[in-house]
Symmetry: C2
DNA sequence: TACATATGTAATATATACTTGACATTTTTC
DNA sequence: GAAAAATGTCAAGTATATATTACATATGTA
C-alpha cells in the first residue's frame, strides 16, 4: 500500500541506487527500500532530506500519498 | 528547536484550537502542541492530514524546516 | 553461463512518535 | 480581576520508525 514510485523515478533520474540515496540522507538501505515500497510512513525530517538530495519538493515526492 | 509557526498561523486562520485540529487529524492535543513547538518530528502521514485540514500544501507548512 | 551489483525481506533490538491522565500556566472573555 | 478556555508540560505506557545482521532473489554485465 502507498508504493512511492515517485521517489524511485527521481532517484533513477539522479542515477543513484537505494544504497547511495540511503547513505546521502543518513538512513539504512533497508529503510529506503521500505519507504519506496510504502511499508514505512517516514518522518517529515527524512522526507525533507530525501527531497534535498533528489532536488524535488515535498509535494512532488509525497503530496497526496495515501498512507494507511 | 524547529518551532513551526506556519502551522499555528494556518490553524488560527481557520479559527481552530490545537484540540480541534488534533481531533480533525486524529492525534492527541498534546501531540499537536509538541508538533507546533517543534518537539516532535511528525510522520509524513500526519503532515499530509494536517495540510488537508488546513488547506495548505506540504511545502507551505513543512518545506525547508530544519528538524534536528 | 557465471559473476557482480541491486533490491527484497525476515528477525531482533532500539529510539522515538504518540497516547493518556493530570496539573500548571497563559490567554481570552465577561 | 475572576472565570473559562487554551496551551504547556510531565510521567508512564504503547506503537512504530529505523538499525543491524543475514540471506534470498532479481537484474545487469562479462
Amino acid at each position: 500500500m502507498a508504493k512511492n514510485i515517485r521517489i524511485k523515478i527521481a532517484r533513477i533520474e539522479k542515477d543513484m541506487t537505494q544504497a547511495q540515496l540511503a547513505e546521502a540522507v543518513g538512513v539504512s538501505r533497508q529503510t529506503m527500500s521500505a519507504i519506496e515500497k510504502g511499508d514505512y510512513n517516514p518522518t517529515i525530517k527524512l522526507c525533507i532530506a530525501i527531497c534535498k538530495v533528489l532536488n524535488k519538493t515535498l509535494d512532488e515526492l509525497f503530496g497526496g500519498i495515501d498512507y494507511e
